[in-house]
């Protein structure tokens, strides 16, 4: 459902990919999509690792 993204230097980027609709979500606590991601992680889920 979510996947980590690396930047061009292979460092984990400041965005998360929601794979269900290919939405890139910033790691900004004021963003409600990111809040949903944090809730999903808090429920014990783990995002896919970046390629």
């Amino acid at each position: 459902m979510y996947k980590k993204i690396n930047d061009e230097n292979s460092i984990e980027a400041n965005v998360i990919l929601r794979t269900t609709d290919n939405t890139f979500i910033p790691k900004d606590e004021a963003n409600t999509d990111y809040q949903e991601y944090l809730e999903w992680v808090a429920e014990g889920n783990t995002p896919e690792e970046a390629e």
């Binding site: 965005v15 890139f24 606590e29 963003n31 999509d33």
Partner: protein, 344 residues
């Protein structure tokens, strides 16, 4: 300085006072019976954005399987159903002032608690004050009943106070348009604690109170300070669109400039129409983008490879192109191609 004072039988008085300068000042009262509101703000009275259902950036019919944003700023739910733009017949008189559109909520399957509501930024909004919600509604089919309510949401992060729900009353809908008005004392937030994530809000809307199905139509939704439902405030389309774009916009489209970072990848620069409420999420709406570069036109299936986002703009790397030469420029020719959302 001259003045006229109107005094009540037992208490209270109203003073109409002229300025202490020469000249004549005329106060023109309405020719028809109406209310001259003084407790309300005289401009931007309506705290609901897009209450006239003129703005539909996401499309004019949104399928529902849960809750989703539909008409701009309106979040709508149903186990299955839709929320869609409908046109008023020219000259109709049931809803005044010739609105162009209304919103139709179709509920094909349902459980309690789905709602049509808008999240007004900042839970401080009208806290401790009197407010009035007004709207037109009808029920063309089915027998669903709804309850008007406000919700004070203190956000996330840290230790925010619990959500406060205040019911305004049940709406008895018929097949004819009716205007409904609810006045509410918005609870004080004294002693409450805001979350630290800057996402607190006041929710205003109506909620299903049963498990029935059907269709419900809404028009001219207004939430304003004071205990009087003033006439619906018409704002120009451009003003209303700009207010919606603080929360959702589609600025990546025809005319955006990028450069080839490799033979298959283009980096694009995007400036938003206005600063957004928070750093937005971005979704590519079109996977067959067309560009002009080096005198040629290329069309290709494409996907976002990487993006850097802020509240004012973004850079987006899109893959899937062919025939590029590194460092050369490209111009996007496909309009409305990526949406940015900073909704509450």
């Amino acid at each position: 300085m001259a003045s006229i004072k109107l005094k009540g039988d037992t208490s209270g008085e109203v003073t109409i006072q002229a300025p202490a300068v020469a000249g004549t000042t005329t106060l023109n009262l309405p020719a028809t019976s109406s209310t001259l509101a003084t407790q309300n703000a005289l401009g931007v009275r309506n705290l609901i954005i897009n209450g006239n259902f003129d703005i539909w950036q996401r499309g004019t019919s949104i399928s529902l399987s849960g809750s989703a944003y539909t008409a701009d700023r309106f979040k709508v739910g149903a186990a299955s159903g839709s929320f869609a733009r409908q046109s008023f017949t020219l000259g109709q008189t049931e809803v005044p002032n010739e609105p162009s559109y209304y919103g139709r909520w179709t509920i094909n399957s349902n459980s309690q608690n789905y709602e049509v509501h808008q999240r007004i930024e900042d839970v401080r909004t009208l806290a401790g004050q009197t407010a009035t919600l007004s709207f037109y509604a009808r029920r063309p089919s089915g027998s669903t009943t709804i309850n008007a309510r406000i919700v004070q949401y203190f956000g996330t992060g840290g230790s925010p106070s619990a959500t406060v729900v205040t019911s305004l009353g049940t709406v008895a809908l018929t097949t004819d348009w009716q205007k409904f008005t609810f006045t509410v004392n918005v609870p004080s937030i004294s002693g409450k604690t805001l979350g630290t994530d800057n996402n607190h809000s006041l929710w205003v809307g109506v909620q299903i109170t049963d498990t029935n199905t059907g269709t419900i139509d809404f028009s001219q939704i207004q939430f304003e300070k004071g205990d009087i439902a003033t006439p619906f405030e018409h704002r120009p389309y451009d003003m209303e669109l700009a207010r919606c774009q603080r929360y959702y916009q589609i600025p990546f489209g025809n005319g955006c400039i990028g450069h080839w970072d490799s033979s298959t990848q283009i980096w694009w620069g995007v400036r938003y129409y206005c600063e957004m409420r928070a750093t937005p999420s971005v979704t590519l709406l079109n996977t067959a983008l067309t560009i002009r570069h080096n005198g040629n036109k290329t069309s290709s299936g494409s996907a976002i490879y990487f993006t850097e986002l802020s509240q004012t703009g973004a850079s987006i790397a899109i893959n899937g192109w062919t025939g590029g030469t590194t460092v050369q420029f490209a111009v996007l020719r496909t309009d409305k191609s990526a949406a940015f959302s900073a909704e509450l």
